[in-house]
């Protein structure tokens, strides 16, 4: 044996070269995605910023045709979309990334809502704090709930976990009904809102004024996306995907899967709670009627519709699930039928969801990509006198 590189047969070698080329060339379908990846960061931002601006001022722009008026108030519909998008973003961590089927996500949403209500509503006897402080508090409390739910149940897998979480969602709803302090159907009125009054002395954040709520939520979504993106491109994000793909293999390769699953649950719960607190603030009223199983399924539908595992996808999915019944009020009563059919069709024709591109899991993938390209180029034009050591390295 010479110092030949430890490579497969010639056929496999050729295949590998083709693969390497394919990885660096825009494909027919993934063309846009590939093109996007190869753009410098500055150019990516230059394209993203105007889009972000349009999205941010969406309730003010009130585009014709797209608007939900006269049926529903457009800024309020916008806030509802943003709220669903945030929920979808949180549920995506649990379902899309770690692959843990959670059918009781509305439970975390409910806990967040009640935290905001309990600490701000005059109907509550608890200590009152400014509304904005309830946002981190809601996250903290839901994380505790998430960890408490996770520790006993995350030893279960797949369908079994789904059933337990389904039960959890119901337990939260029933607790809100039977615990007197939670005031059941009577609920909490006049939940707090962020401070600030306009020039005319009217508070900026009110129940029937959706624009400021929308902008606040979009700001939070951007922040959450950045932080989730950082997690995604770290050992945590990689461990989540590995657990989703093959949990046993992940465990055997040294990944403490239980710990990472708890982290996924806690992260998802925190975002769900945050979304719940925002919802409570905007609506201004919290009771036990809005946190049923069907809502959980609707959240899940948003994730799967948009593209499980893809942040941008689930945001679009969440917005759509909220937008369609608001825009087409005549068919709003059939929304579950419509989403059901849509899911079936999606599973048949595009099982990865509307935007199903895989997530990037390395913080410095660019340097590795450049190196791969360099290797492929070196292979195409072999050096005149190859150094055996270098050959072995390639």
């Amino acid at each position: 044996m010479s110092t030949e590189p430890v490579l497969g047969s010639e056929g496999a070698q050729k295949h590998l070269e083709e693969l390497a080329e394919h990885a660096n060339k825009p494909g027919r379908f993934a063309g846009l995605n590939q093109w996007w990846e190869q753009q410098p960061r500055v150019k990516q931002w230059a394209i993203l910023l105007p889009i972000a601006a349009i999205v941010f001022f969406l309730p003010v722009i009130n585009p014709p045709i797209i608007t939900t008026e006269p049926g529903n108030d457009w800024p309020l519909a916008c806030f509802d979309m943003a709220r669903f998008a945030l929920v979808a973003l949180g549920l995506n961590v649990v379902v899309g990334q770690a692959g843990l089927l959670d059918l009781g996500y509305v439970g975390f949403f409910a806990v967040g809502s009640y935290v905001a209500a309990l600490w701000t509503s005059p109907d509550s006897s608890a200590v009152h704090i400014p509304y904005l402080w309830t946002l981190p508090l809601a996250m903290l409390v839901t994380v505790v709930f998430g960890v408490c739910l996770g520790i006993p149940t995350l030893r279960l897998r797949g369908d079994y976990l789904a059933i337990v979480t389904l039960g959890f969602g119901e337990i939260i709803r029933l607790l809100a009904t039977i615990i007197p302090a939670m005031r059941g159907q009577q609920g909490f009125k006049e939940v707090g809102h962020p401070p600030g009054t306009g020039s005319d002395g009217v508070p900026i954040f009110t129940n029937n004024h959706g624009t400021p709520w929308y902008m606040l939520t979009v700001g939070i979504i951007v922040l959450v996306m950045i932080l989730l993106g950082n997690i995604e491109r770290s050992r945590v994000g990689r461990a989540w995907i590995a657990i989703r793909e093959d949990e046993d293999a992940a465990e055997i390769m040294g990944v403490p899967t239980f710990k990472f699953k708890i982290w996924a649950f806690a992260t998802g719960a925190a975002i769900g709670g945050l979304s719940g607190a925002l919802f409570a603030g905007q609506v201004g009223f919290v009771n036990n009627q809005k946190f049923d199983v069907v809502t959980s399924v609707l959240f899940l539908c948003a994730v799967i519709l948009g593209g499980s595992g893809n942040k941008l996808g689930v945001i679009i999915g969440g917005a759509l699930v909220s937008y369609i019944p608001n825009r087409f009020t005549s068919i709003a009563d059939y929304k579950y039928l419509i989403f059901g059919v849509a899911l079936v069709l999606l599973m048949i024709f595009r099982s990865q969801g509307l935007i199903g591109a895989r997530a990037h899991l390395l913080a410095y993938a660019r340097s590795a990509r450049a190196r791969t390209r360099e290797l492929a180029a070196r292979r195409r034009t072999p050096e005149p006198t190859p150094d055996p050591a270098q050959e072995a390295a390639s």
């Binding site: 047969s9 590998l16 050992r235 293999a249 465990e251 899991l361 913080a363 410095y364 590795a368 050591a389």
Partner: protein
């Protein structure tokens, strides 16, 4: 390597090939792959002791009081007919099965009742007989998960990009690429694992296991489904892994490969230890010949 006869079943078991001279200093890739490691100290000392290991499935005894040692720096072959308990032995060592009796010790520390990921972190990595890569992740990402054993960033560290996180991420790329180069599939670093050809998936499994920085690397039939040329290459790779200071436990059906690459062989039959010794001895051992190599030996 282009020998056409490789396609036929070898008539006689090939001669025992003397293992290549240890540390080949000319191999740049090997040095890279071994970076940050203590190059095997105390070659020849006992690394893993398998002590009266038994595994029972209900009434079936899959492994019956098997004892053998794995020495540091060697390539140990574990062979035996189908159902002899090779993979069971593997699974009991790596914590997949709970042994019903006996003990497995790595450097004197018992691996029993340890969690699977702890065993891997202690230095025992494996590949799978049926390839189990994370298909949706790229080759490099797969290796990066293997590198997780040496990383410690928490959820918050990752979220806010603390310096340790950035340092670990950079080293993931560096080490990951070096390992992929070492096994010879660096070109495909950015290709989804499920899209890789079969042979490269096997190599990626080895790279991923090496990424955990094991003291003992267990290869479960790494040559399954390989053609003779690929097997030849795999033998080279296994030797270079050993030369890098890793200890290798190899389960393999292919006699040519086992005889050609191992330093020592342990033979199992019906869950019991049948023989143990260097390949030359094993080939001439009458018990082994009648139990396992019978047909081929009589050709």
């Amino acid at each position: 390597m282009t020998d056409q006869n490789h396609d036929e079943i070898p008539e006689v078991i090939p001669d025992y090939v003397e293992p290549a001279a240890p540390p080949s200093l000319d191999s740049e890739a090997a040095e890279k792959a071994a970076a940050e490691r203590d190059i095997a100290v105390g070659v020849g000392e006992t690394l893993v002791e398998i002590d009266n290991l038994s595994v029972k499935f209900g009434g079936l005894t899959a492994l019956d009081s098997v004892s053998f040692d794995i020495k540091r720096g060697e390539i140990l072959g574990l062979i035996g007919p189908n159902g002899a308990g090779k993979t069971t032995c593997f699974n009991a060592m790596t914590g997949v099965y709970k042994p019903s009796g006996g003990d497995v010790r790595l450097e004197g520390v018992s691996l029993l009742r340890k969690k699977q990921h702890t065993i891997t972190r202690m230095g025992l990595a494996r590949t799978f007989q049926n390839i189990r890569l994370w298909g949706e992740m790229t080759a490099l990402e797969n290796v990066a998960v293997g590198l997780d054993t040496r990383h410690h960033t928490s959820l918050f560290g990752a979220m806010f990009g603390i310096p340790r996180h950035r340092r670990e991420e950079r080293s993931s790329i560096e080490r990951g690429m070096a390992l992929l180069e070492f096994v010879g599939i660096a070109d495909a670093a950015m290709t989804k694992a499920s899209a890789l050809p079969y042979g490269h998936q096997r190599r990626l499994e080895i790279a991923r296991a090496l990424a955990t920085d094991p003291k003992l690397l267990c290869l479960d039939e790494p040559a399954a489904g390989f053609n003779p040329a690929e097997k030849e290459n795999l033998m080279e790779l296994i030797r270079s892994i050993r030369d890098d200071g890793y200890t290798v436990l190899l389960i393999e059906h292919d006699m040519k490969l086992v005889m050609g690459v191992t330093d020592r062989i342990v033979v199992l039959e019906f869950g019991k230890l049948l023989a143990e010794g260097p390949p030359k001895e094993i080939r001439e051992n009458p018990a082994v010949i009648s139990a396992y190599l019978g047909e081929e030996a009589q050709v």
